[in-house]
């Protein structure tokens, strides 16, 4: 609206009939800011939702967090000076997730990888039970879901989202060296978790 006004300040206050305001018709009355936002940030909804879903581990929570994050992103949009809209948005999504989790799930202990729990909850299948693709995927999904937050976000950003270390550092606010070691350790944990739960090969 500001842009519309500044371009047309000369139109006098007497513009009232629809005849004299014909010139307005082709221009929708939408804030240019909204349009820019929709073009730069809205296309990354998939990435935003995927990250929120993995960090909150709940479809319902992810929905709320993404809405809240987009609202915040819209508020802070003046601080976005072009460049990578995805990383910019993901940083907001990530921070919104943690704030949201803190507020809505006070003191829920972050899932630590718990060997005893896993072996108790899911007896290892015998060698005669072959692992079908779906089961295999389910194991991986669970192993990833059970990683501590900082490992899980690193894996999601790198492996699922394909971000570079530099981008992950920008999203998480951690130094690149930390990103590197978190990823290495997260991968070790995933491999250990999977190895423990899958049957020995023949």
């Amino acid at each position: 609206m500001a842009a519309l006004l500044s371009g047309n300040k000369m139109l006098s206050a007497s513009v009232q009939s629809s005849e004299t305001s014909q010139t307005w018709e082709p221009r929708p009355l939408r804030d240019e800011r909204v349009v820019r936002f929709e073009q730069a940030i809205l296309p990354h909804l998939g990435a935003a939702y995927n990250l929120a879903r993995w960090l909150t581990r709940s479809a319902h929570d992810a929905d709320d967090v993404v809405q809240e994050a987009y609202l915040r992103a819209y508020q802070f949009f003046d601080g976005f000076h072009g460049g990578d809209g995805r990383a910019w948005l993901l940083r907001i999504v990530r921070n919104t997730c943690y704030t949201w989790l803190e507020k809505n799930r006070p003191r829920a202990p972050m899932a630590q990888f718990d060997e005893a729990k896993h072996s108790a909850g899911r007896p290892a299948p015998g060698p005669e039970a072959p692992l079908v693709a779906g089961e295999d995927r389910e194991l991986l999904r669970r192993a990833l879901a059970e990683l501590p937050d900082e490992f899980r976000e690193a894996i999601v950003l790198r492996e699922l989202e394909g971000l570079s270390y530099k981008e992950i550092a920008a999203v998480t606010g951690a130094p690149i060296g930390t990103v590197m070691s978190r990823l290495a350790r997260a991968r070790e944990r995933l491999q250990e978790g999977l190895a423990h739960r899958r049957p020995e090969g023949p």
Binding site: V15, S21, W24, R137, L140
Partner: protein
């Protein structure tokens, strides 16, 4: 380099994040060490499994339209209304401009943004109503003791602006009563808070695709926001002030 040193670098190596010198060191080592080569294969296999599209959560189809709507995309035919609204906004802006000078952003702009944000949030976060009632005799007392202002609550059902309830909100750094009315599927938020000052007649604005009106009597400020079109909003404001 030792196997242990190599193993520590395999993860960034697989990601292509090492410098050329170390890349070459590792390649040389891998050519001679089947254990480290196997470890690298393990990492690559893990990456391949993680790239399974089934692990990537897709947003529900309703989410994008909901975000877009909340960002102020108009939901009614613009062509006819746009001209009238634009003219009205110009009139308001011109009048306001002469009164206030053309400095920006004005207190009005800041407040308008806050009101729109609050409106959007009330629609997004499932927090439209704290108190659901179409009975003004129940809605009004509900605010007693919750805000320092007595909001005017009108029954406009016969005028097709049914009251649906109330909510506590926070505008301009103080608690505000939010009365919620509807027109068909359009939600109208009416914010009322305590603001002693001169009487001001209604001013109509358009921000981010929403229409707003604000006025004040000598003790209260009123702000109305909705995605209703300008004409209906004016009608609503008139009824509210009658």
């Amino acid at each position: 380099m030792t196997c242990e040193e190599i193993r520590n670098l395999l993860s960034p190596y697989a990601d292509g994040e090492l410098d050329l010198v170390r890349d070459l060191d590792i390649e040389r080592h891998l050519a001679e060490c089947p254990h480290c080569a196997a470890a690298l294969e393990g990492l690559r296999a893990l990456s391949a499994r993680l790239s399974d599209p089934a692990l990537y959560h897709q947003p529900p189809t309703a989410l994008a339209p909901r975000l877009r709507a909340a960002l102020g995309r108009p939901r009614f035919p613009w062509r006819r209304v746009a001209a009238a609204a634009a003219a009205a906004v110009l009139v308001a802006a011109a009048l306001w401009g002469t009164v206030r000078g053309l400095s920006a952003p004005s207190a009005e702009d800041l407040l308008a943004r806050e009101v729109v944000d609050s409106h959007v949030r009330s629609l997004m976060a499932d927090h439209l109503l704290d108190f659901k009632s179409d009975d003004r005799h129940k809605v009004k007392p509900w605010f007693l003791g919750r805000v320092d202002v007595a909001p005017e609550v009108k029954d406009l059902t016969t005028e097709r602006f049914p009251l649906i309830g109330g909510r506590l909100d926070y505008i301009d750094g103080r608690p505000a009563a939010a009365l919620v009315y509807k027109r068909n599927d359009h939600v109208i938020n009416v914010f009322v808070w305590r603001a002693p000052g001169p009487d001001r007649p209604p001013v109509f604005l358009e921000r981010q695709g929403y229409h707003l009106a604000h006025w004040s009597d000598n003790e209260r400020a009123f702000w109305v926001v909705s995605d209703l079109n300008e004409e209906e909003l004016r009608q609503f404001v008139e009824l509210l002030r009658r």
